[in-house]
Symmetry: C2
Subunit: 199 residues, 2 copies
DNA sequence: CTTTTGATGTGACTCGGTAACGTCACTATA
DNA sequence: TATAGTGACGTTACCGAGTCACATCAAAAG
């Protein structure tokens, strides 16, 4: 038996979710989270750069995932196939308990601007990584940017739909459906570009 | 003569830029900024919700600007014309000294992650506002989202190009050029969708 | 058996941000 | 003109996030 309980980061995450849900983010101090996980404030900040980061641990994996997905796609892939490869790899980068954790996490993020800001920043990091990977394969920076925005949007909305749905279909499938819908919207956009719209 | 020097917010902004540039963001305390503007820390936080917000004051105007631009566009506007109207109105919402301030501000943002996070959040707020305005005119949420991303990208890159260029052309023109380029990229994207690309 | 390692604890500190309370020129109204 | 607000500001005290130097002690390494 080791000197300390294992998985300090995981314990801190669970403690944070529990206390934030009970008392709210602002009303919960870092010391309380640490104590609830059987640790001290100093140790908490040795594991996480700041209080918010407890809830966003492991996002680096997602950035790596999306990039490798694009870079390792078949040589003769169309732009859309590259996006699909990146987003599929992104979905596959999540841990198995994603759904359980996310259903606890999402309500928290909705209540606290401070957490939304961090979530937005993480999303931007993924978008930026996807954009660069796509650009390296496509050569065109603007196309890469448009596709990156589209891919990440599909990912986040497929994610949201998957979390809130009662029937737990496959995560990747939910995202891929969304991606298909966006592809169609994109096509309509350029087809319709000469026509006018009612207000 | 009034009791206090006027334009406390402006003085705080100038003080913050000056001190951040000299010593760096982290090495500058809120009290130092306040003192440099002839005020106290408490008064600083009466004007701004937090330290970062000193540099991002007045962004609410931009959100209102982009929304009104879309909503007040002619009744028979195409999707792209709606985006153009929104982005043009966004550009027009800036104060006249934008260029001078931005050239001091941009290097600061580049050095401090904390500030980039706030900048990203502000950008997301503009994107969200544009998306909702577009959706209310277009009816299609996905098209609105794709167009909002595209418009905001063009805006930020036109902005960056305008700031860094020596010949100060019109801001709105720089952004509009970028928008045109994105429109072309979008069209190529759907035209090319059946073709393959070299890796 | 001795040394080293590394995750943790302790205590003290700085700084961001809040809140209660006081000050005083300006303004409005009687 | 007297008097009662009003509002921007200062003073003081406080809490919590985050940092740092230093100590601890089981386990691994030698």
């Amino acid at each position: 038996m080791s000197r300390w309980e294992p998985d300090a980061r995981g314990r801190l995450l669970r403690a944070a979710i529990e206390l934030f849900t009970e008392r709210g983010y602002d009303a919960t101090t870092a010391a309380q989270i640490a104590a609830h996980a059987g640790l001290t404030k100093t140790t908490l900040f040795r594991h996480f750069a700041d209080k918010r980061e407890i809830l966003f641990q492991g996002q680096d994996v997602l950035v790596e995932g999306v990039v490798s997905g694009v870079l390792e796609a078949p040589a003769l892939s169309s732009p859309m196939e590259l996006v699909r490869a990146g987003i599929a790899s992104l979905c596959a980068s999540h841990s198995a308990d994603l759904r359980d954790v996310a259903r606890l996490l999402d309500p928290l993020l909705a209540t606290t601007p401070e957490l939304q800001e961090r979530a937005t920043f993480k999303r931007a990091a993924i978008t930026e990584a996807l954009q660069q990977a796509l650009e390296s394969r496509l050569g065109d920076a603007r196309q890469a940017r448009l596709l990156a925005d589209m891919g990440v949007r599909a990912y986040y909305e497929g994610y949201a739909a998957w979390i809130s749905s009662d029937a737990p279909a496959a995560f990747a499938a939910s995202v891929d459906d969304e991606l298909t819908a966006y592809e169609a919207a994109l096509r309509e956009l350029t087809d319709d570009r000469a026509s006018v719209h009612p207000s």
